[in-house]
Symmetry: C2
Subunit: 231 residues, 2 copies
């Protein structure tokens, strides 16, 4: 059964314009077809199409809401996008498949990539939500300067994975269960000393990610998987 | 410092023909340049180039061998290659970065991809070994029929991740420490019932990989990360 993102009011689901186009033109659904609706906030429904046009599709809810099980952890990954865009794109797809709450892209002193099409990344995240049969869409934030992210980071447990020599906690010793976690992953050239110092001063704890040297996107996904296994 | 794969005899390292080409023509190294040598078996060295031609480069060992730390688990992943080749390629790259001993590609009843250029995949594995500063190259086996793989699988602890309804052990409850593990991951259309039955009859235990539906390549990497975290 095809899955579409829609806003739900009462017994009526209205597909977003993009989803309507996809439903009508790409998948060539017809009025009367059954589909699965997700609202992006954790609810899914079964529904029957009642209106099919290129710009707007509507469906009548026939079952639901079915609530997506909540994970026992909240993970916010802040990561410098890679020079090669496809590397960060697959990281995001995989992070969403496995489970993540929020992703923020950060601009660091050593970042080679200084611009990012966040709409494209949001579409990748939405597609991964649908593909992995989830119904809650993670927040994907635009690229912001490292210093700005550090300044507004909240009271969560906060980690920074950098490659400089320093005493670090092994990620395998951490617990993510029933906690809200922010994890910082730097660019290909790593964080600068000034960035590391400023993160430490803001309460970020340095962590090590195993014994091998991981690429930026692998490090990001490693943290996502750590939360899944250590919770 | 650039890293190259070579055979080492006494104090002389001889780069493979491909590595020699890369060293001489791509990276334009000169006699006298220092480099890092790995033998693919877990040893690394520092060396100085003594001979540089397109087809053959030699170096004199100046320090080492430095032995790569052995992981406390042995993981052999048997996975059906994905229809889109880049998906299985990145899975292999990431699996090697994080740590794996052996990968076998399996041909299943529902496999859409029936041919595979294993030489290209071996190069990706070698490149990931060098990039992640390891010195042991995992074994990458050619595509073989599922039944053949099942028949020759050894006395390791053996798991199969399939999507059919059945009682399964949650991967989070397993231990990989001080064990040799084989994990089977099926194609996009999943294993057939006959394949699952035959694996179970050969001692494979069904496992579940979390609460979301993972793509084939994400499932493969999920098991690799499980071994890293649960050991």
């Amino acid at each position: 059964m095809n899955v579409f993102i829609a806003t739900v009011q009462g017994a009526t689901a209205t597909l977003t314009p993009e989803e309507s186009w996809h439903c009508a033109k790409v998948l060539r659904n017809k009025s009367g077809d059954t589909l699965r609706i997700i609202d992006g906030k954790g609810n899914s429904y079964e529904a029957v199409l009642t209106l099919v046009t290129d710009k707007k599709c509507e469906a009548r809810i026939t079952a639901g809401p079915f609530l997506q099980q909540t994970r026992n952890y909240n993970l916010h990954l802040a990561i410098a996008p890679t020079k090669q865009l496809d590397r960060i794109e697959w990281m995001l797809e995989k992070a969403v498949e496995i489970g993540i709450n929020e992703v923020t892209f950060i601009l660091c002193a050593n970042s080679e990539r200084k611009h990012l099409n966040v709409d494209r990344l949001r579409k990748i995240a939405e597609s991964a939500v649908k593909q992995s049969l989830q119904s809650r869409i993670p927040i994907v934030n635009s690229l912001i300067p490292f210093s700005e992210f550090i300044a507004r980071s909240s009271n969560s447990q906060k980690f920074i994975a950098h490659c400089s020599d320093a005493s670090k906690e092994d990620i395998k010793t951490l617990s993510f269960a029933n906690k809200s976690t922010i994890a910082l992953i730097g660019p290909e050239g790593d964080f600068t000393k000034a960035e590391i110092d400023s993160a430490l001063a803001s309460g970020f704890r340095p962590i090590s990610l195993g014994t091998t040297r991981l690429r930026t996107e692998t490090a990001g996904l490693y943290v996502v998987q750590a939360a899944a296994f250590l919770s």
